[in-house]
Structures are given as C-alpha cells and as structure tokens.
C-alpha cells in the first residue's frame, strides 16, 4: 500500500485501558477508511499497550495496529503526547488522522497538527465520504448553525471529534464502554433520585417532559415534575441537569443516557446540544420551551415557546388542567 493513503486513529490507552472516547474515534475511523477504501491503522498511544493488545484479541485482518509509548519524564503530559503522536503520524504517513476530542485531546492535538504543519478540523460531529472525498461537519456560532468542511485533495488532515456525538464501536474483543456508565459515575448522587421510584419509566414512555440547566434549582425541578404529572409523562433530563445534581442520571436523555422515541418530547430549559439531541431527535412531536430564541432545540421543534420557563410552565399546567 502506498503511504499517505491510510486512516490513523490515535486511540488513548491509559494503564492498558482504551478510554471510551477512543471507541467513538475508532467508529469514525472505520467509516472513513471504508468510504475512502483505504486501510485503517489503529494507533495505541499511552502506556501498557500490551495489555490493551491482549484484550483486543483479534481485529479485522485489514486493520493494522501500531503503538507509541508515552514517556512523560519531566514533561507535562500533553507535551509528551505531542512528541509521541507527531512521531507516530510521521512514521505511518496517513491521509487522515483522528485525534482525541476530550479535554486532554484538546491540549495536545492542535499542537501536534501545528508541529506537523497539517490542517485540522476540531469538534467534528459527523463524518461522511462522498465522491469527492471526506466531508466533516461541526457546529459554529455557539451551536446555532453548522458548517461542512472538506480538505484539498492530497493534503493530509487531522480531525478531532466532539465527544458523545458518534456511536462508539467495539475494538476487537473490547466492547464499547457505555458512556452512560461513565456519566453515572460523574453524577453526584442527588436527593431527586429517591423520588423517582414512583415515576414513570423513561424507556417506552409515550410522553416525556425533560428539564435542563434552565431549571436552576429544586423549584424548577418541581415545576417540571408537576407538568409531567399533568401530562402523565415520564421525566427526562439533560446532562447538565444531572451534573448539577438536579436530576438523577437514570433520567438523562442523550448519548450517555437513554435514546428515546416518544410520541411527545417536551424539552424545557435545555439548549439541545448534539449529545442531547442524539437521544431524542427521533421523537414524533417535539415541543421546546426556552428563553433563548436561538437555542438549537427550536430547530427540531414542532412547537416552540420563547420565554421564561418559570412563567410558561405554571401557565401551561393551568391551561392543561382546564377542561378543553
């Protein structure tokens, strides 16, 4: 195979374990390699790769693995990574490099690209190959709009993915670690979780009312729960609401929560980030209440009200309680 014609995934291996995001990178790498009909190279960068290799077991025969051991020494971790990955990219000489989009990846990948003199697209939310080559998309203008990016043919380029927006795939025998489990560990155990026992289950619910960061406090949560009761709906939440301790992780909708397809999805005080919409965009009817007229969730909505949830939701509850 001629060099310069491969896809290289720079998987992050920490103490022998491949981090969850690398499974998303691997999925994207496979899709690109297949689309461009070029081989995929799995780079295992970090420490204790032997353990990772043993756990991977057998990979699809066309996938080559290479390793780069990171020796931090006196360096900051990202500095050692810029060194190790730059050298690996030079030796593999790929057409497309997938680097990590985690906060750690954001520390090393742009510097690596600069050292190699390669163009880079970061925060990528989708990858597709058409007859002119690879197209990636990413959000701009604070999530309000999107742009599609191509690279001049022949020039290699670096891509980093927005975490939680591309379906992860197993790597050999290593199953994709559920992001949901990772998120569950991050979430504080909230007092809210006790009150969920009597609530309707999210999965399979016909109607879901989800609250986001805009709920702000217990008071906001209570409003969302009351609206859900009136509609006989299950209660959902955004990742931000979970991390704030407002909602239990079991209620989280999105790429690291549940993927739902109710008849009605009523989104309140949540912006509609790609990680969230991943879990609800297939809903039959979407309603959004948000004070920001530009919130991306309004692009998916069939019915939207721009306004303060603390005013709209009580009025809606009243209106629903009144006989039609």
């Amino acid at each position: 195979m001629a060099p310069g014609n491969r896809v290289l995934v720079l998987a992050e291996v920490m103490g022998g374990v491949i981090i969850p995001h690398s499974h998303e990178m691997f999925a994207a790498g496979m899709a690109i390699a297949e689309g461009l009909q070029v081989p995929l190279v799995l780079g295992l960068v970090g420490t204790d790769q032997d353990e990772a290799l043993a756990n991977i077991g057998t990979l699809d025969g066309s996938i080559e693995t290479v390793t780069a051991v990171v020796d931090e020494g006196e360096m900051l971790p990202y500095e050692a990574w810029v060194d190790a990955t730059s050298e690996l990219v030079r030796s593999v000489d790929p057409h497309i490099v997938l680097a990590s989009g985690t906060s750690f990846g954001n520390d090393y990948a742009p510097r690596m690209a600069a050292r190699l003199g390669l163009p880079m697209a970061s925060w990528v939310t989708s990858v597709t190959v058409d007859d002119q080559g690879l197209v990636v998309t990413r959000d701009v203008l604070g999530g309000r709009a999107e742009t599609a990016i191509r690279c001049n043919s022949g020039t290699p380029f670096v891509i980093s993915l927005e975490p939680g927006t591309i379906d992860p795939s197993p790597i050999g025998d290593i199953a994709a670690i559920s992001l949901s489990d990772v998120f569950a560990e991050l979430a504080p155990t909230s007092p809210g979780s006790q009150s969920t026992a009597h609530r309707k289950r999210l999965m399979g619910a016909d109607r879901i009312v989800s609250g986001g960061r805009g709920m702000r406090s217990e008071e906001g949560v209570a409003l969302i729960e009351e609206l859900a009761d009136v509609l006989d709906a299950a209660v959902g939440s955004s990742g931000a609401a979970v991390l704030m301790g407002l909602s239990p992780h079991e209620t989280q909708v999105g790429s690291s929560g549940e993927v739902v397809r109710p008849k009605l999805y009523l989104a309140v005080g949540l912006s509609g980030t790609p990680q969230h919409t991943f879990g609800m965009r297939e809903s039959q009817f979407i309603v959004a209440i948000n004070k920001d007229p530009n919130a991306p969730i309004f692009q998916l909505a069939d019915f939207g009200i721009v306004g303060d949830l603390f005013e709209i939701v009580p009025a809606l509850i009243e209106a629903l309680k009144k006989p039609a």
């Binding site: 742009p110 970061s122 629903l320």
Partner: protein, 252 residues
C-alpha cells in the same frame, strides 16, 4: 514582565437570528470582542498590576478589528499589535497562528493570555498552535492566577479536579470558560487615554490561506408547519400550546 493578550473580533453571536425557512443565520448587531478574550484582557491587566511591566494586545483581523484593540486599550492595556488581514474568514488556524507568531516572535513575551475558543467558529486551535510555533508551554482551563516574585502560581481545572502549578515563563495561559462578566471594562477616561496609546499595524508575513474549505454556516431548516411563539403574553402562549397538544392527541 512583558504580557500579551490575544483578542479576536467576532460577530455578536447573541444577535444571530436563524431564518426558519432557509436555515440561514442572519447577523444582527455589530462585531464585538470575543467573550472569553474580554476575560483574558482583564486577567492580563491584573497580572501587570501585581508584577509591573506592560500588556500588549494582539489581533489578526480586518481593519475593523482595530475597534476591539481600542476597547482593550481603553480597558487598561498599554499598546496593541494589529496583523491586518481582510481574509481571516478564509484562513485556517495554522495560517492565523503563523501570522501572529511571525509578528511577535521578536517581542519576547513572558506571559500570553487567551480565551479557550472564539464565539464564532471556535476551533480552539489558534492559541495552542501559536504556543507550539513560539516553542512555549501552555496551560489550559486556567481558573486562578497568583503572581510571585519569580514565578506565577496557576490553578487549572482538569475535568473537575483542580491542578496547581508554579509555572516558569514564557507561558501561554488559556482561561477556563466562565459565565460572569469580566472584572474590568473600558471607561470614558480609558477611551480618552486609548487615543494616545500606540497601535502598530503590520501586514502578515506568511500567506493567509487554507487547505480546508468550509461551507457558509447553516442551521437545520425547520419544518414548514412549526409553530414558534415569541413575545406573546404568557397565558395566551400557554393556552395555544395546550390546544395544540390536544389537537395532536398528545394529552391523556
């Protein structure tokens, strides 16, 4: 101490309205200083106040970006370097970083400040790539900065865990995103003083271009029968939603 702060002129993202039929974003207001850069300006001036020295603001951008440099001067920055480039929108992060690197290489800055990413295209690359090209370290997600006689004590947020560093200069400090308003802002008096402060305009000494091409920003087109109520009295909006839900048999 010689301090630099990166400043970008961006569209006022808050003023962007999406045309629902086409998905085209319409930009309403005039350009503004990137939100996180305003914090960086504030922090840079704070550092100068405790260590003495000077703060220089740096920007690559069209002629109109001078406005944001003046804004920084009026907030308390001492001088500015403007790499004038009308094609910034068509240049990739590598060209932009190179243009700044070439313009400031001889300046010997001890500390550079920047925000995390720009409000408009937000690649989060130019600042780090500049550091790489200048051969200096960076620390990202910086939350607090304390200056001492021979070092700077910095706390950063590493995915929810605080990390502390005594950093040696030169270094680029990338501030963690924050929601509050910047501590310092321009004043009328600052504006008067800004007029006497030097702004050095330079041409980029590297080609400003891009190996990447990107499409005009587009939002998802919304369905023709979407209902969006804005500025309607609360009770009316709620009543309309209630009847819409009933009409679509979405209530029990």
């Amino acid at each position: 101490m010689k301090i630099a702060v990166l400043v970008k002129q961006v569209v006022d993202v808050g003023s962007v309205r999406i045309e629902s039929a086409t998905g085209e974003p319409k930009i309403g207001g005039s350009p503004v200083m990137n939100t996180s850069d305003a914090h960086a300006v504030s922090e840079a001036i704070d550092l100068r106040e405790t260590t003495s020295g000077e703060v220089v603001s740096l920007s690559v951008g069209p002629r109109s970006a001078r406005e944001e440099l003046i804004e920084a001067l009026a907030t308390g920055v001492d001088s500015a370097i403007h790499v004038v480039c009308e094609e910034l929108e068509r240049s990739d992060s590598l060209s932009t970083a190179r243009a700044i690197a070439e313009a400031v290489r001889e300046e010997g800055f001890d500390v550079l400040f920047s925000g995390q990413k720009a409000d408009d295209f937000g690649t989060g690359q130019v600042n780090l790539q500049l550091a790489e090209m200048l051969g200096i370290r960076h620390l990202s997600n910086v939350t607090t900065i304390m200056a001492h006689a021979d070092s700077i004590h910095v706390t950063r947020d590493a995915d929810g865990f605080p990390e502390e560093f005594d950093v040696q200069t030169p270094v680029l400090l990338i501030l963690a995103p924050r929601d509050d308003a910047p501590k310092r802002h321009s004043s009328l008096r600052g504006m008067m003083q800004a007029k006497r402060k030097p702004v050095r305009e330079v041409e980029p000494t590297v080609p400003m271009n891009s190996a990447l091409t990107w499409t005009e920003p587009m939002a998802q087109r919304v369905s023709a029968d979407r209902v969006l109520l804005e500025g309607e009295p609360v009770d009316e909006a709620a009543a309309k939603l209630a009847s819409w839900l009933r009409e679509h048999r979405l209530v029990r």
